[in-house]
Amino acid sequence: MASLFVIQGPDQGKRFNLAQVCVSLGRDTTNTIRLNDTEVSRQHAEIRQDDVGDGYHVVDLNSSNGTFINDARRDRHELQSGDRLKIGATLMIFTGTDVNVSHNTDNVELISSMNQGEKSRIVKSLRHDGQFDKEEEGVSPWLARARSNLQVMYRTSLAVSHTLDIDELLLRIMELIFEWVEADRGCILLTDRDTSALEPKVRHNRPGTPDEEKLSISKTITDYVMSNSEGVLTSDASEDERFDAARSIVTMGVREAIAVPMQGRYGIVGLIYIDTYTAPGKTLRGMSPKFNEEHLKLMVAIGHQAALAVEDTSYYSAMVQAERLAAIGQTIAGLSHSVKNILQGIRGGSYLIEEGLKASETDLIQKGWGIVERNQEKISRLVLDMLTYSKEREPEMAPADLCQVVGEVIELMNSRATELNVTLKWEPVAELPSFVFDSTSMHHAILNVVTNAIDACDEVENGIVEVTVEYDVDEKLISTVVKDNGKGISEQDLARVFVVFESTKGNRGTGLGLPVTQKIAQEHGGEITAESKPGKGSTFRLTWPAVLAEEFNEALVGEKRE
């Protein structure tokens, strides 16, 4: 589905799917996409689907500040994937519906050197690292400089591609600049998204330059760079006609400075500044310039690279944040749904108790209390499931009797089965050896599966849930199998039964039971599998590696001896 992803503005990180033929954008609540941006008009623009249904175009609705596509103001524009749509302070990326693009690689083949048709030979090779530094005799100074510049750009590209931490990224860039140019002080400033003010992020000094000395950056320079989107080099600022002599940067002890914009795809994200500095009272005489035009050009290129990396990192952070918010939203929605249903039950049970007390009817009180108790059990299991699902833990492995664990689950669930007219079948395996597993968590896992099986048989005639335990001696696997003849699960739903908060049980399910069971199985190095046929029933098989208690005990004795 086509969508708009907000990469700048108050709604940054939000993704809006273009699900309708006409989607309106604006500040007003009546819009399909409501933007919390005061610079957006109430009814700002519309995105309309073409008649054929595979294209979209944006139409400005006479907005006050206009609609911009890829920085150009447009009244109407046919949208292409990757287009930047800016309205007010909100910048969005448009992603269109999938287009069938041919990536036919069938006619590509790798031929061996033995092949008759292969005539090529290697005349020169170059490693990806190091060899740029080798100096060759007879190479012109121009070529040497070009190579050096290429080396700087190459290292900058490597530096920006290795991190998603903006502070770390800026620090690396600053260090690289200082390796390459003889600056005394440097600083990278980023534009604050909310205030548009430049905020210093990284400062770097050449060794020997006192750190505690305040780095004052001329606003004359930064304003010029930011407003003109141009890098500036000044070798003697007092003579530079671009700057007001009265506010000359020379008054701050700066001899030379380079300031370049960090020009990204969507605008200027900040500024890189370096200078050479003479402490007050020291003489300038005899000092040769350290910065030249070539430095400026390369700094502009580095600024651009850094800006792209900053934008990518911000974009990635916004995506991660959006996904995190979506996950939190899903969790809250899932839990609220379960808690709401439990509260409804408690409310109903309490009402019956109240009525029973008023009328002195013990039957009504008992019925009400039964409902309250059932919902108390539900909420305690929900909390237990939440804790089990959210906590990373090691199972407490100890010898235990699996038949006893399953027997306890059956005993616990018998009343529920009887209540729903479901027959619960369980035949313990005679002479099953004792295994090593976490009996508490496995009890929890089996209980979840058996509960589901009983619920699946509700409203089914002659509902039967059969629980068995199997021990595969050859494969050294132990299984608990829960089979029911309930309503079954469709193929589509079966694929999602282990996804958290996906319940096929409607209001009765929390969507946590099976994910928790799967987690417990995995903690034991095992798995849970499901087979089902709608209308016929389901089989859940919980399998994990069998560790015999006697082997475990022998190993323990061995460890103690050592």
Partner: protein, 124 residues
Amino acid sequence: MKNASPSQVLIVDANADSAEVLHAVFQRKGVETISARQPQKGIQLARSCDPDVIVLDVESLSGEDISTDDFLDSNKEQPARLLLLGNLRQQEKESGSDAILAKPYHFAALIRKIEGLLVDSRAA
């Protein structure tokens, strides 16, 4: 004739506890209750049992290919009074139901609404 037989309420709610509470309360009042957790089964019961009042929790319709209209149309000759429970969208509010009760509700209020609809149904 509906007036000859005891009043009957159909409860369509995925939450079995709610149906159980209503069943216990109305049994004491001599009103018969039948219930369904699935809306599909609810439609079948509405057609076969011809209840006086249908209490429908709209949440139970989510993900199903059934709407409130299907319950309104379940018996064209003697339509049952329809009480919708839940936080309804405008479209559902305008669907022609006889009463609406937003969630969360108090059971005393729900029971009063059902009783009122039973009286209306019998008077019609």
